[in-house]
């Protein structure tokens, strides 16, 4: 280990001299990542509305109490949990199925993979607009167009967004996130030790047994990763809710509510408190999702 070789005394000074050029980057890292959050924490305990700046002062837990008791905010907490959990779970399951399919060799596999990734590349606002207008629109949307094409002029022409608003948002997000999950799981499948699989087949294992006792335990790490990253980003989702329903019809999630509190009501203190709640919530959801996935697998590893 040559790095540990230099003798003590001169060693320490020389080591720091060599590292010096990289230190500014590190100091920035700490300052830039953590200070804004500390500021948010502090503001969350203040009474501060930019429309009434003279009333600024310490508010104690008032903002948190407001966040928890306000029925709008409470329902947006519930919506966030529901939205995140269903998008992560559905896109993980779909992604797993597609990854298993793409793990087999067949002609056109590369093309299918490229086409599958496409939704992930669409600018999220464009994707949200696309779902809202091109697919869901009752008069010229694709869904009702297909219904007409199949069942003729008398086909039902539902207004998708107003009859099932949250489902509409979830479907759009699942469409965008399934390719991401699929890619992570496909990487997991392709790093699976092939000889163990072959040995199992020779010993007479069925395809399902191989999946359950070999593939699934191996994929655990990748399922966890997909669940974690997915939760982080979907808890933060703003574009889809803002575009598809403008937060109406009970689809306002916490990021949207924070935006409203901050940008329209100018209540900095309450927006910050809601922000802190989002962070705590995403940590909770992420760890819950992780535990759910690993407990599913733990039984089967035995």
């Amino acid at each position: 280990m040559p790095t540990q070789a230099p003798p003590k005394g001169i060693g320490a000074a020389a080591r720091w001299a060599r590292r010096a050029p990289l230190l500014p980057a590190l100091i920035f890292t700490i300052a830039v990542t953590q200070l804004p959050f500390v500021a948010t924490l502090i503001i969350s305990f203040l009474q501060w509305n930019s429309l009434a700046p003279e009333n600024r002062g310490f508010a104690g837990l008032d903002n948190y109490i407001a966040v928890i008791t306000d029925p709008n905010l409470r329902s947006s907490v519930l919506t966030t949990v529901l939205l995140t959990a269903s998008v992560v779970l559905i896109s993980l399951l779909l992604g797993l199925g597609i990854a298993l399919l793409l793990d087999r060799k067949f002609r056109g596999r590369g093309l299918v993979r490229t086409m599958m990734i496409a939704p992930f590349l669409v600018v999220p606002v464009a994707a949200a607009l696309l779902w809202k207008h091109a697919l869901y629109n009752p008069e010229y949307g694709l869904f009702n167009g297909v219904l007409k094409w199949i069942f003729g002029e008398s086909a039902a022409q539902p207004d998708w967004i107003s009859t099932m608003p949250l489902t509409a948002v979830i479907a759009a997000l699942v469409w965008q996130w399934t390719p991401f999950m699929m890619l992570i799981l496909l990487a997991g499948l392709q790093s699976r030790p092939q000889d163990a699989v072959e040995a199992a087949f020779i010993d007479g294992a069925t395809g399902f047994q191989v999946f359950r006792y070999l593939t699934l335990p191996h994929l655990r790490q990748y399922l966890e990763l997909g669940g974690l990253l997915g939760s982080i980003y979907i808890v933060q989702n703003f574009d889809a809710v803002f575009t598809i329903t403008s937060g109406g019809l009970g689809t306002a999630n916490l990021p949207y509510t924070i935006y409203q509190t901050f940008y329209q009501a100018h209540d900095y203190g309450q927006a910050s408190a809601a922000g802190v709640v989002v962070v705590i919530g995403s940590i909770l959801i992420a760890s819950f999702a992780l535990r759910a996935v690993s407990s599913l697998l733990r039984d089967e590893v035995k």
């Binding site: 959050f37 496409a118 606002v125 916490l254 927006a271």
Partner: protein, 286 residues
């Protein structure tokens, strides 16, 4: 070995044919299902004004000039220039700030390294809306709200996801190379620039690609800081309002959507390998 692999299906050829048909048809159905929405956007974009508002699925006439009409309806070139400025400057900034930080986290030995890495992961999990309040207040004091600078400048200091991704890449490059360079008298900085950066080029490319896509896609940031100053709008903001001001010309809204989606998809087709690598590398342990 190969004979064993070939013997794997072991069942009748009828089974194998059925299997072949099943795999192919599911594959084709999925590929079509996931891409149809995008194709439909393109088809609507080239329909005539009237047909776009019907429930027809296939254009009767192909109006490719719709793509040009979009530029007449809105200052698309200006928005595009703003988007490009934001994405390119941010990507440049990330390269300058995240590479040294990731190196310090992956390949330098110092006390507290793991704690700092945890802070980086924590920062990655922090939704942008959460820190928006103090940051917005700070940028008001600097007099920079209404411009894209509040979005660009932070990338010259730090970006958690890029640092995370680069660290994962740097970990895959053997320490021996860096140790050897140091024995030859290199400082940490020279070891980074001369040894690690050339070896980690695919990882750096993937990180740059992600940063470009992320900023190109960003909607919340530009909405917050430039929402009231139309001259500094990015494409994503312009697209969302295009629909509002050109209600009837639905085909043009879709043509604008195609124009905004195109760069990301073209970029992906050229850099598919490093893109896929980038996603899978987030899972490297260490």
């Amino acid at each position: 070995m190969s004979t064993i692999t070939q013997a794997k299906p072991r069942k009748g050829s009828w089974d194998r044919k059925l299997h072949w048909v099943a795999t192919h048809s599911i594959g084709i159905a999925l590929a079509i299902g996931f891409t149809t929405p995008i194709v439909f956007v393109f088809l609507t974009a080239v329909m005539s004004d009237k047909q776009a508002l019907s429930s027809n699925l296939w254009p009767q006439e192909w109006h490719f000039e719709n793509f040009l009409r979009v530029f007449e309806k809105a200052p698309m070139l200006e928005y595009m220039a703003n988007s490009l400025m934001y994405s390119l400057l941010a990507t440049l900034g990330v390269m300058l700030s995240a590479i040294p930080t990731a190196y310090a986290l992956a390949r330098m030995k110092w006390r507290g390294r793991n704690a700092v890495f945890l802070l980086v992961v924590a920062a990655m999990m922090l939704p942008p809306q959460v820190v928006a309040v103090p940051l917005y207040d700070m940028w008001i004091n600097f007099g920079l709200t209404g411009t894209l600078w509040p979005l660009v400048i932070p990338y010259f200091l730090f970006d958690a996801f890029s640092v995370f991704l680069l660290r994962q890449f740097f970990l895959t490059i053997p320490q021996d190379y860096i140790d050897a360079a140091k024995i030859d008298g290199c400082s940490e900085l020279t070891a980074l620039v001369r040894v690690l950066v050339p070896m980690a080029r695919p990882g750096i490319a993937a990180t740059a690609l992600f940063c470009f896509l992320f900023t190109w896609n960003d909607y919340f940031g530009p909405l917050l800081y430039t929402g009231e100053n139309k001259g500094n709008w990015t494409l994503s903001l312009a697209l969302a309002s295009f629909r509002g001001s050109h209600q009837v010309e639905w085909n043009l809204t879709m043509a604008a959507t195609v124009l905004i989606m195109a760069p990301a998809i073209v970029l992906f087709l050229f850099a598919q390998k490093s893109f896929v690598k980038g996603i899978t590398f987030t899972g490297v342990k260490g």
